[in-house]
């Protein structure tokens, strides 16, 4: 179960990226995940939602897109202007 650590890394990066677009808020983050990355998409989504719940990032969503082989990279971030 290393998906919790991965979800936590995603949130950290979302915070950093969002800070560069102040005052916009992050609503959805897109991540590319390859089949050989050794990461379970369902488990990652579960951990992501659990970490977001009750924080200022709520209701941030995670979108997992198919990636190549062992890819585990960011793709995009959806921002909402106030």
């Amino acid at each position: 179960m290393h998906e919790m650590g991965i979800a936590s890394s995603i949130l950290e990066a979302v915070r950093t990226e969002t800070a560069m677009h102040t005052p916009a808020r992050a609503r959805k983050v897109g991540v590319r995940l390859g089949e050989m990355a050794g990461i379970d998409a369902n488990s990652l989504s579960f951990c992501f939602d659990a970490l977001v719940k009750g924080t200022d990032l709520e209701p941030l969503e995670l979108a997992i897109e198919p990636g190549s082989t062992d890819q585990l990279e960011f793709a995009w971030l959806e921002l909402e202007e106030p």
């Binding site: 179960m1 290393h2 650590g5 991965i6 890394s9 995603i10 990066a13 990226e17 677009h21 916009a24 609503r27 983050v29 897109g30 991540v31 089949e35 050989m36 990355a37 050794g38 990461i39 082989t69 062992d70 585990l72 990279e73 960011f74 793709a75 995009w76 971030l77 959806e78 921002l79 909402e80 202007e81």
Partner: protein
């Protein structure tokens, strides 16, 4: 709503530390290898036999990862080479920071060969680069032939598959050729060594592989 592109690896921080470690290993001519398998496939046994076969003064060191206990370090320290235990306290894999911390105080210039025994787990260690030159996956014949298909990530990332406990082949239904074909369906160029740490059959090939790697990374 606006969508902005976002770049970079999710495990960027780990990747950075791993890249620093890799550069350090290269600078000092250290061949670092990351051993990965399920619990009980024989990582520690393989290291015991390997250390045992080295002459005193051989420039080899071991980092061994476990969730709890320093039992493996105690097993491996008997052979007189530097060994350090990394206890992850719950984490199911080693990461590059743990390796960097464990290496503190060791002079890499005095090491040619560094074995990093990961936590027994075929999934989580796949995602974490430790700065190693190569990953090795161990598969024991008491496990299933289909393991490479069930856990493709680690077989995809490993350059060598060591089939262990081959002395038990007469007693189990495991067909090495099927396991090898499964591994090669994931990674066609994966090297394979079959051995037994009890009878030492096949062990010579393993040592040849290790020595060739040390030479090419010196």
């Amino acid at each position: 709503m606006t969508r902005v592109p976002m770049e970079g690896k999710v495990l960027n921080e780990n990747e950075q530390v791993a890249a620093e470690l890799r550069a350090e290993f290269a600078r000092h001519g250290v061949f670092a290898v990351n051993l990965i398998s399920s619990p009980g496939s024989g990582k520690t046994a393989l290291l015991e036999r390997t250390l045992e076969s080295f002459a005193p003064g051989r420039r080899v060191a071991v980092l061994t990862g476990d969730i709890q206990t320093d039992a493996d370090a105690a097993r491996l320290a008997k052979y007189g080479f530097p060994v350090r235990q990394i206890t992850t306290a719950g984490a199911c894999h080693l990461d590059a920071r743990m390796v960097r911390r464990a290496l503190e105080g060791w002079d890499l210039a005095t090491i040619d060969l560094l074995f990093i025994e990961n936590v027994g787990n075929l999934v989580c260690p796949t995602s974490y680069d430790l700065g190693e030159a190569k990953k090795i996956v161990l598969l024991s014949v008491t496990e299933g032939e289909e393991k490479p298909l069930k856990y493709p990530g680690i077989f995809y990332k490993s350059e060598l598959m060591v089939l262990t406990k081959t002395d038990l082949l007469p007693y189990v239904p495991f067909r090495p050729e099927v396991a090898i074909a499964n591994a090669r369906s994931i990674r066609p160029d994966i090297e394979v060594i079959q051995l037994s740490c009890q009878t030492k059959v096949g062990f010579g090939r393993w040592m040849e592989w290790v020595e060739a790697q040390v030479l090419s990374h010196a």
